[in-house]
């Protein structure tokens, strides 16, 4: 198990290097001179040249990239912000708590709503609840989440005046952004839960459990849901990426002081080191979540766990089960 985790962490390195390279290329070849942006309209040619030298902008492309990576790896330094001239790392880290809070709340909301409605819809298949839940899921995935956010503001802040429309200081401020980000994902999770549960519920061991007189609630949660967890975990993991993207939009709608808002603001003023740092940080978080999902499989499914434990040939099989479930849901 530990060897598997280590191997996966090692495999992350080339992916993250690739991400950094692509993003670095994209922003490097963007027209415009960062030094000119930093100094503003009335800078002299000499000042610009000086600053270019100082920032290392006169170096060849690959040297610049190498220095960028070197600073990240050795000093955890993502460069200097063009606008505030402060360390990007510090500014990014200041924004992490808000984004993490929002992401965790959204995932929790989406998972609870999605799994509960999905289970009920599957247990009471073809009932009115099932149909309503399906319609909810179809509408949920169709609404652009920035629009959902604005509608929530209109209803709960402007019309009813129950919740604050912007800011992130108290738990009351967290509700609307988390709803906005989690809504679409809860729909996806609900659909996946429903179909996974339907598959399990028809199995013989469920009939056996019923025949021996087990309580319905125990059957649903202990016998059925546990065996339907793999595809559900997979879809939660995949939606996490979508939620990170949604968080960027929600943060700028609700003025949440998170990484997403920082990045959108940075793009508008062409503050590229900030954009690069933000993308890298989010890609890193996303990869870690994917890794956690893979590890979680082992805890949910004893079959996968035993494959890790048994040495030699069987080891390769575990990731296959995981990727298969992943492919089915995408």
């Amino acid at each position: 198990m530990i060897r598997f985790i280590l191997k996966r962490i090692l495999a992350l390195i080339p992916v993250l290097l690739g991400v950094s390279f692509i993003i670095f290329c994209l922003l490097y070849f963007t027209p415009g001179d960062p030094a000119e942006y930093m100094l503003g309209m009335d800078a002299t040619e000499e000042n610009i040249q000086e600053l270019r030298e100082e920032l290392g902008l006169n170096e060849p492309f690959l040297v610049q990239y190498f220095n960028y990576i070197k600073n990240i790896v050795l000093h955890f330094d993502f460069g200097k912000s063009y606008t505030t001239k402060q360390s990007v790392t510090i500014e990014l880290l200041q924004r992490v708590p808000a984004t993490v809070t929002l992401a965790v709340l959204s995932v929790a909301f989406a998972t609870i709503i999605g799994v509960v409605t999905g289970v009920i819809a599957a247990v009471k298949q073809y009932s009115i609840f099932d149909k309503l839940a399906t319609i909810f899921a179809l509408t949920g995935v169709s609404m652009p989440n920035f629009w959902t956010g604005l509608m929530l503001i209109i209803i709960f802040s402007v019309k009813l005046g129950w919740l604050p429309p912007s800011g992130f200081s108290t738990p009351m401020h967290w509700i609307l952004p988390a709803l906005t980000v989690g809504m679409a994902s809860s729909a996806t999770i609900m659909r996946q839960t429903r179909s996974a549960m339907l598959e399990v519920i028809r199995q013989d061991y469920i009939t056996t459990a019923r025949a021996k007189g087990q309580k319905e609630i125990v059957i649903v949660f202990r016998h059925a849901l546990r065996n339907a967890l793999i595809p559900i975990i997979t879809v939660v993991g995949i939606s996490f990426g979508g939620m990170l993207g949604g968080a960027i939009l929600a943060e700028s709608i609700f003025s949440v002081p998170g990484i997403g808002k920082l990045m959108v603001d940075a793009i508008n003023v062409k503050n590229y080191p900030m954009v690069q740092g933000g993308v890298l940080l989010i890609a890193f978080a996303f990869s870690i979540v994917n890794l956690l999902v893979d590890i979680l499989y082992a805890f949910v499914d004893p079959r996968i766990k035993s494959q890790y434990k048994s040495s030699g040939k069987m080891k390769k099989k575990a990731p296959i089960v995981a990727t298969k479930a992943k492919e089915e849901t995408t």
Partner: protein, 298 residues
Amino acid sequence: MTVTPTAIDTSIDVSSIKKETLLQQTWNGLKKNRLAMVGLFLIILLLFVTIFADFIAPYGVDDQDLTRAYTAPCKEFIFGTDDFGRDIFSRIVYGSRYSLMIGAVAATLSAVIGMLIGSLAGFYGGKTDNILMRFIDIMLAIPSTLLGISIVAALGNGIRNVIIAVAIGAVPAYARIVRASILSVKEQEYIEAARSIGASDFRIIMHHILPNCLAPIIVQITMSVAKAILEASALSFIGLGVQPPSAEWGAMLSAGRAYIRKAWWIVTFPGLAIATLIFGLNLFGDGLRDALDPKLKT
């Protein structure tokens, strides 16, 4: 040798089965699915609106009447007017052109690139596969909204760059689907037969492999049109895509945000238009998946 009646019967049966093409089969499956028909209706309705926008819109797209600014929905302006007194309904009608064009072009572009990468990786395997798929892995490590934002940030605003950004974000999904389906048909005997009579790789991929993995690709195309429209409007919404005063739905939402307390209708209706179109595409895509390949049913 006399032909027995039973032999004739079977031959008739076979030919009548053959006549039902994939297209007809799919259509027959779709017809039974009420939700898919609703989706198709919504898509056709929006196509109709796009084509006949000049006749449907009661006002011009940029007609301003500052004296009537912030008019709530009424008989004259069914969706109300915005801060410049422009009719929101007319702007939504014209704005459908942006969304449908972005959706169609971006989906086509990503389908072509994704299929190319996926076929090369799946067909040649080995090193080619490894390099291409690692590249796809890298792209998948960046959430697609974020990738879109970065690309537009680098290329600059404007509809062409939005299309490119959205299309690139959709490539990995195609590449993976095409690769997976190619791997599943590659070893079949008819591919070997084609190769043995000297067909080129290109011909084998285009004529023998791709037609046999069409079902998941078609489903992916409908879904990716929906995704492209959503992502493009999101980019316009944060001010990186199509710029106001263009009547693109995302841009309209973005411009109306400032007046959310004063005039709720400015942001409500463009979003409703996006949601309706996406809803239609999703319903149709779901139905298509069920009709094309019962195995994929969720």
